[in-house]
Amino acid sequence: MPVITLTIDDELVSARAGQSILEACREHGIKIPTLCNLDGLSARGGCRLCLVEVAGNPRLLPACTTEALENMVVTTHNEKIDRYRRMILELTFAERNHTCAVCVSNQHCELQTLAAELGMDHVRYDYLNPELGLDTSHARYGVDHNRCVLCLRCVRVCDEVEGAHTWDVKGRGIESRVITDLNRPWGDSESCTECGKCVEVCPTGALFDKGSAVAEMKKEASFLRRILDGREKNEWRR
C-alpha cells in the first residue's frame, strides 16, 4: 500500500494512502476529540468535533471524513479550532435536554466528558427545551430522545454490524429523530434482534438498559473491534 507523508502539528508523519486525517492522527498518538466517530463504524462527519485546519483551505474540515494527502499541512489544535469545538458542544447541549445530574449516564457519558475536557463550562445559547419523550416499550432497552445527539452510531452499528437496520432517522435538521422500524415503538419492532449493540455504542444516556437508575448506565463499545476482527481477520481475542 503506498505511503504518503504529511505534516500534522509541525511534525512530519507518514500514513497509508486512503486513510483519513483522523486515522493518521490516531496512529501517531495525536488526540482529536470525536463524538459521532467510533472505531469499526463508517465515518459520518456528523458531529464536527474533529474539525482541523488544512493549509490552503479557508474552512475547517472534519478529520474523520477528509482523506490524508501527500504534503498536506494539518493543524489539530489552535485557539480558533478549540473555540469552534466548544461552540459545537454548546450548541449540542442547547439543542436538547441534557440534564446530566439526573441522567442514567451521568459520569459515564462521552458528551459530558468532552465538555469537561474541552473546557465548556457554560452554554451561551438559549436552550431550545424541546418536548421529547422516552420510549420504554422494549422489554430490555429504552430510548430517551432528550439525551440523543444524533451521532447515529446506533443506526450505523445496527445496519453495518448487526445487519438488522432497525434504526433509522426521520425528519430533517433539528427535527431529526432516531426511529425504530419506520417509527413504530421499539417494543413493537419486528426487525430488532435485541442484541443491544446500539445501547453499548451510544455515547450518552439516549439508549440505555431498562431499569437503570441515575448514573448507573455504563457502556462498553470495545466489543465492536473484537467482533469485527473476528469477522474480518479471523482473529478472536478477548
Binding site: A101, G133, L134, D135, T136, G142, K210, A213, V214
Partner: protein
Amino acid sequence: MAQTITIEPVTRIEGHAKISIQLDDAGKVADAQFHVTEFRGFEKFCIGRSFWEMPGITARVCGICPVSHLMASSKAGDAILGVRTPAPAVALRRLMNYGQLVQSHALSFFLLSGPDLILGMDAAPEQRNMAGLIAEHPDLARAGIRLRAFGQQLIRSLGDRSIHPSWAVPGGVRKSLSAEEKAALLQQLPEMYATVDRGLDLMKDALDKFADEIDAYGNFPSLYMGLVNSEGGLEHYDGQLRIIDSEGKILEDGAAPERYQELIAEAEQPWSYLKFPYYRPLGVEAGMYRVGPLARLNVCDFAGTPKADRELRQFRHYGGQGKPVSGSFYYHYARLIEILFSLEKIEEILADEILIDHHIRSKAGVNQNIGIGVSEAPRGTLFHHYKVDDNGILEDVNLIIATGQNNLAMNRTVKQLAERFISGDKLDQGLLNRVEHGIRAFDPCLSCSTHEAGRMPMQVRLLSARGELLDQVERG
C-alpha cells in the same frame, strides 16, 4: 393605624420564606402569616420520565434530606414492581435513613437553632449565628459538626456521596456496606453518643432558661401524625400511620400509608406556594396536625431502644397526664431524642449479620400502575405517589412533603409569637428573632441545600396601612 411587619427572608431555615405580621389600629397583632416564596414544580416536570429515575430525580428536591426522598421514591417504585424487596436491602435502607436523621437533626439543633438556644434570643445579631457560636463555643460547634459529619459519612459509605445519592432503587439498593466502612462507623459511635448527651444537657438548660416564654413558641392543641411499627413503637422507614388528637386519643391507627388521601386533604392560599394539608374528617380548622420529631414521639407508645426510651419518659412529663407534648419548642428536644434513637439503631443494624447477604436488589418490570411510598423524613411524614403506564412512564406524581403538613401549625406559631412579643410601632431585633425562631423550631425544609455559608441578609420593615415606612431594621 393598621400596619404590616414583614420579615424577609426568614434566616437559618432551609429555603426561602417570609413572615408578615399585621397590626390593627391599636398596635396589637391582628394576624400573622408564614409565606413560602419559592416554587419548584417537581410534580409537573417529572411527568413523562421513567419511575426508575425517580429516586435520583426526587433526591434533588432537597440537599438536606435527599435520603428521605430516596426512601419514599424507591418504596413507591417497589410498589410498582410489586415484588418483595430483599430483607438486606431494607436493612441497608433503614441504616441510611437513620444516618440522615442524625445529620439533619444535628444541623438543625447545633447549627441552625443552636445560636438562639445557646447564645440567647437577644444576643447581638452579628454574633447570633453559626460563626458566633463557633467563636463562643468552639468545642461544642465542632462536636455538632462532627455529629452531622458522621451521619453524612454513613450516607456516603452506602451511596458514594452524601448529597443526592442515587443509591436506593425500585426493588432494593445498588451497593452494600464494606467491612472497612462498617468498622469506621462503629469506631465513631462512642463520640457521637457523648455529643448527644451534651446536646441533651444543653437542651435541659435551655428549657430552664426559656421557661417563661416557651409557651409562646407554638403551644396549642393540634393533632399529630406519624408512622408507628406493628407494636406501636417509633418508626421511620415503614409501618402504619397513626393520628392522635390533642388529648392523646387515637383517631386513626394501623392505617396503611396507601390510604393517605382518605386521611389528608390539602387547602391552598393565594399568599403561599406551600399547600395547607389537614386531617380530612375534621376540616381545615380542627384538622390542623403536626408531623416531625415532636409528633412522632407523641404518637408512638415507646421508642424501642434503651437510651431513647429513658429520655422519652422524661420528655413525656412536658405533656402531662397522658397528653401529648404540645409546645413546638419541644421539637428541639424531640430531635435530640431521635438522634439518640438513630445512633442506637445504627449500632443495632451494623451488628446484624444480614448486611453480609448479597441479595440486595429484586428485579422486575411494571406489575402495578400505582405506587405509593412513605417514609418519616427528619421533618415528618413524606409521601410519594406515582401513576405509571405499562412501560413505567409517569402519568401523575403527587409528593406530600413533611414541611407542608406543618404549614398550618407554623402559621399558628408565628401568630402566637407575634401576639406575645410584637406590639406598637417599634421593632426590636430580639423580639423579631423570637418570631423567626418559632419557625426554626419546626426546622422547615423549604427547598434545597445549605451549601451557602453564612447568613442571608434580612430586612424587616414596619409599614403603615398606606404603605408608609414607619420603622426598619436590617442585618446582612
